[in-house]
């Protein structure tokens, strides 16, 4: 295990982080829309959101990756890189979980907050925007970070479709050098540092936000 190889693995870790960050940001946007659809009074939107969430939560990420990887060229005649496929899969998959996070965060706001803002003459949308969502976002941050951590770990699956991130690099180095344990050991350590760091950040934010409210 040379330093160059460790550096290579670190570069792979950065790629994984980048894709996951993009995935979670896009996932938040999509997940937020899904959660609003879920909470709306329009039955069709409600059902669509529910079906989407259940489909993505109740099927393996690996299969979703394959379906997107092979499906895009067949269905839409688009040839894309593994990077794009990984990002799309991460976004779609995480949005389903994030929708649930937002839904329960909004549902967790006391009914009295709605009463108070309605009684002051605010409309439903104004109440949501100025009263409910600012509070719900705070509640949602710790579970969102958990979601990020679990996504970072499952991003290793994307190595199977040929996306060159840390796990893919590790398997490449391993097959070239036939040194299983130190390569995988270092890889695991890098994952651990990233995930542990994020978890700590999560619990720090949780404490900070509690006082802030």
């Amino acid at each position: 295990m040379t330093w160059m190889r460790v550096l290579l693995l670190l570069r792979g870790a950065v790629v994984a982080l980048e894709v996951c960050t993009l995935g979670i940001i896009l996932g938040c946007v999509l997940g937020f829309c899904l959660s609003l659809m879920r909470l709306s009074k329009i039955k069709t939107l409600n059902m669509l959101s529910l079906i989407y969430v259940e489909l993505f939560r109740d099927s393996p990420l690996l299969i979703q990756l394959f379906l997107i990887f092979y499906g895009l060229p067949i269905l839409f005649k688009v040839q894309t890189s593994a990077l794009v496929v990984a990002t799309i899969a991460m976004t779609l998959n995480s949005s389903a979980y994030i929708a649930e996070i937002f839904k329960s965060a909004i549902g967790g706001i006391m009914k009295g907050q709605w009463d108070a803002s309605y009684s002051l003459g605010l409309s439903h949308l104004q109440s949501l925007r100025y009263v409910i969502l600012p509070q719900a976002f705070r509640i949602a941050i710790p579970p969102l970070i958990n979601q990020f951590v679990s996504m970072l770990k499952s991003s290793s699956l994307a190595s199977i479709i040929g996306f060159v991130e840390i796990t893919k690099l590790a398997t490449m180095i391993r097959s070239r050098t036939f040194t299983t344990f130190d390569v995988l050991g270092v890889t695991a350590a890098i994952y651990f540092v990233m995930c542990y760091g994020l978890s700590r950040l999560g619990s720090y934010l949780e404490k900070r936000l509690e006082i802030g409210t």
């Binding site: 006391m110 009295g112 907050q113 009463d115 108070a116 803002s117 309605y118 009684s119 002051l120 003459g121 605010l122 409309s123 104004q126 100025y130 009263v131 600012p134 509070q135 705070r138 802030g212 409210t213």
Partner: protein, 268 residues
């Protein structure tokens, strides 16, 4: 006969007379309101009218429907039968525009304050004037500061609800409702969640509000407050008005056994 008819056909009330008529017209008129949740019958035909400047106290045991009645007035609850008219507007939960108009005219103060925890006192107060009435920020804050000063809370303008005592929270909540310049204030057991030593500051604020001529409907068990400012006390029992009258009538000479029991219970 002839001359009379002539007078009638040409009669137009003057502006002053119209003003007089408007004033004597009840600002809130509740007629035959029934409400039920499934099998649970909460209100069984309530009739109340409140004139401008009147203070009406509603009391009764828990479960008698007093909070529900109050929440029907600004459409936080729906009702199945009857009508509620606020300032000439019929409260009907299906007509969103009407509901918002009614809510602009009616302020409510809750038992649990329901302040917005993510906003400081001044933002709590200015949110609705700015978003609903589109008052600009500076003006809204000036008005809020004026109201806070009247409440004796000038130094708390930047405080978040979590750092306020119960009494301060409730006074900020009253200020928040007043900032919309309502015609009527509703109070839903405003002192029930307070520690005993904080009840007085909230009641004092309410008394001074009443003395300034605010029309108020107050659900409370604070009979001292009722004696001091109420024009009318309504005793609600199991969804009907069992008895109503001036504080003197009700305290000194209650007609119903249940009213007597209730008053004995509360006053001792």
């Amino acid at each position: 006969m002839r001359s009379e008819r002539k007078v009638n056909s040409f009669y137009r009330p003057s502006a002053k007379e119209i003003e007089y008529i408007m004033k004597s017209e009840p600002i809130i008129k509740i007629q035959g309101v029934h409400k039920w949740f499934g099998d649970l019958y909460v209100l069984k035909g309530i009739d109340i009218s409140v004139n401008k400047g009147e203070v009406v106290v509603i009391c009764g045991v828990s479960g008698s429907g007093k909070s529900t009645l109050l929440r029907c007035i600004n459409a936080l609850e729906t009702f199945q039968k009857g009508s509620i008219i606020v300032d000439g507007l019929s409260v009907n939960a299906n007509n969103r525009k009407f509901v918002r108009e009614v809510r602009k005219r009616v302020g409510i103060v809750f038992q649990n304050f329901n302040l917005f925890p993510h906003l400081n006192a001044i933002d709590n107060i200015t949110l609705a004037p700015r978003q609903v009435k589109k008052v600009n920020k500076r003006e809204a804050e000036q008005q809020a500061m004026k109201l806070l000063a009247q409440m004796g809370l000038s130094d708390k303008k930047k405080s978040y609800p979590i750092s306020l005592s119960g009494g301060q929270k409730q006074r900020v909540a009253i200020t928040r409702a007043l900032a919309m310049d309502p015609m009527v204030m509703l109070f839903d057991e405003p002192t029930s969640a307070l520690d005993p030593e904080m009840i007085k500051e909230v009641l004092d604020a309410m008394i001074s509000l009443a003395q300034k001529g605010m029309t108020m409907i107050v659900v409370t068990h604070e009979m001292g407050f009722a004696k001091c400012v109420a024009n009318k006390i309504i005793f609600l029992d199991q969804g009907v008005i069992l008895e109503e009258g001036s504080p003197q009538e009700l305290f000194e000479n209650p007609k119903h056994k249940r009213t007597k029991e209730f008053l004995n219970h509360i006053l001792t």
